[in-house]
Amino acid sequence: MNQSTDTPIVSLHNVSKSFGRVFALEGINLDFYPGQIVSLVGDNGAGKSTLTKIISGTEDPDSGGEIIIDSEKVGKWSAALARNRGIETVHQNRALSEQQSIYANVFLGREKTNRFGFVSRKAEIEETEALMRKIGYTSKVWTPKSTVNKLSGGERQGVAISRAILFESRLVMLDEPTTAMALSEAGEVMDFIRDLKKAGKSVIFISHNPWDAHMVADRFVILERGRVVYDAPKGDMSADDFIALLHKFAKKDQS
């Protein structure tokens, strides 16, 4: 991938977000290229989640900033528009309606309907079934009709992630996808992210875990207090060097 020739899927120009007098993000300039895995790291409150929310359309940036999709500036930006442009998000809280069925969650906001808006349940259930098989839901206990509140944390994450790949997504953002997961489950999420890259999709991966962040990344972006303080390709940086780099910023922050 060549950053200078590829058109970024998403570009942020001078994007800020303030809550009252506090800046969660300040003058962010970032480009996200096709087929690239970006590890977005930073301390608690650095603005990682706010950044994902702005890109995914669930939070509006302050006026003055620009969101550019495929070199075209967007005026109005919303979650529905972001999904239409192929930007899917696996939110930290997973964004599942627990009392609804798995298939209803997978198709939430994008129901397969006839022209009167009635849901084609059969089609949705079949596609969900195929998807569950694909991501390895070998359990016979859960069917697409099972409600989400019966699933374990890892299984719920599985539903949230499968929802993100079902549609023709080009950029998948995963906000702390391995939080509260067993090691084996977390390992599978990492494999899954590599699969996304193989399929040519770009990924924004947010994690507290520097080893995970280092392992899958092509490029690191470090946020501190709402600003981008480091943005460079991984190159041959080792995990130890990367962690040392993170510590350097964390220390600077305290001084």
Binding site: G57, A95, E98, Q99, T113, V119, T138, L151
Partner: protein
């Protein structure tokens, strides 16, 4: 994610989970009917009592259907009794002014209901007010407005007795009052929308996890506003049926609806916590409630027992739903 295989044993499902509340409400209704028949067979084994019940049952059902939507959406509406009254006034007044132009009168009534519901929705979703308090206030305001506009008069509409319109809406179709068929039709439509339409899913998500809905691009505010408008429309329909049935408008028209209709929602198995609901359950719940209202008196008990019966039914049905929902899987 191959390892996320659950360890719990495969359960034998007797009744699919989504039908359990309806099933529970039906069993409860049958038990109640058996009790009625045993206590007063001479009343409950004759047609007369059912004709009486079928006159008013549809009115509770129509407005109750919309309350399932609002409960599932995680909100509540206490203003529907006054919307029934004010849209009934709009209907009656338009009839008086236009020498019985029924089309215009229905339109005026539905628009009045829509406007009230839209205002409720706006206050709740745009200003973020509590729906409980907003609609409680709205109920008082609309009762007052109805009285101000109507000036405390009871409006008789004896002219409409022989009209074709009245015969179609509340006449007798064989032994059955026409409004039974109308309410059944509305129940089928609203049931299909609630359980099978995109809108129904969004309503339930709005009550269960609105953030999830927003993250997936669902317009939660619009969904909730539409539900408030639906209540306005259903209240207006109930108001129209009530005026036609009595050939009279009286300003206290909506008074008897608040608690029985809400009770019908919960007796039917729609949980108060939002996120799900059942239209079939509401139909059975409304029947339960109306049978208690009429049945207690018909069985020869003092009218005071009606409230007592209500109380028992609500509490026992809630206990029943709680236990029943877990019990049918083993």
């Amino acid at each position: 994610m191959t390892s996320v295989v659950t360890t719990s044993k495969k359960r034998k499902v007797l009744i699919p989970e989504e039908y359990r509340p309806v099933f529970g409400a039906a069993i409860f209704f049958l038990l109640m009917m058996i009790a009625f028949i045993i206590s007063a067979p001479e009343v409950f084994l004759t047609v007369g009592i059912y004709t009486a019940i079928f006159l008013s049952l549809p009115l509770f059902t129509i407005v109750g259907l919309s309350l399932v939507y609002i409960t599932a959406a995680g909100e509540i509406d206490l203003s529907f009794p006054s919307i029934i009254a004010i849209s009934a006034l709009a209907f009656t007044w338009t009839l008086e002014q236009t020498q019985l132009n029924f089309g215009l009168a229905v339109l005026a009534s539905l628009l009045t209901g829509c406007a009230c519901g839209w205002l409720n929705g706006l206050l709740v979703t745009r200003l973020g007010l509590s729906s409980l308090i907003t609609t409680l206030g709205m109920n008082f305001a609309l009762v007052g407005l109805t009285n101000i506009l109507n000036n405390g008069v009871v409006r008789g509409l004896t002219d409409i007795d022989d009209s074709k319109f009245r015969a179609i809406l509340v006449g007798s179709w064989g032994p059955m009052p026409a409004q039974m068929f109308w309410s059944a039709g509305i129940a089928v439509i609203l049931g299909l929308i609630f359980h099978r339409h995109r809108f129904g899913i969004h309503v339930k998500v709005a009550g269960d996890n609105p953030e999830a809905g927003r993250a997936m691009g669902v317009n939660i505010e619009r969904t909730k506003t539409l539900v408030f408008i639906l209540i306005g429309v259903c209240s207006a329909l109930t108001g129209i049926f009530a005026v036609l049935l009595n050939s009279t408008f009286f300003p206290t028209m909506g008074d008897g609806y608040l608690l029985p209709t809400l009770a019908a929602v919960f007796v039917g198995g729609t949980p108060v916590t939002g996120g799900k609901g059942t239209i079939g359950g509401l139909v059975i719940g409304a029947a339960t409630v109306v049978f208690i209202q009429t049945g207690v008196v018909a069985a020869g008990l003092d009218g005071y027992w009606t409230s007592f019966g209500f109380g028992l039914v609500i509490v026992f049905s809630l206990i029943g739903h709680r236990r029943f929902s877990g019990k049918l899987t083993r």
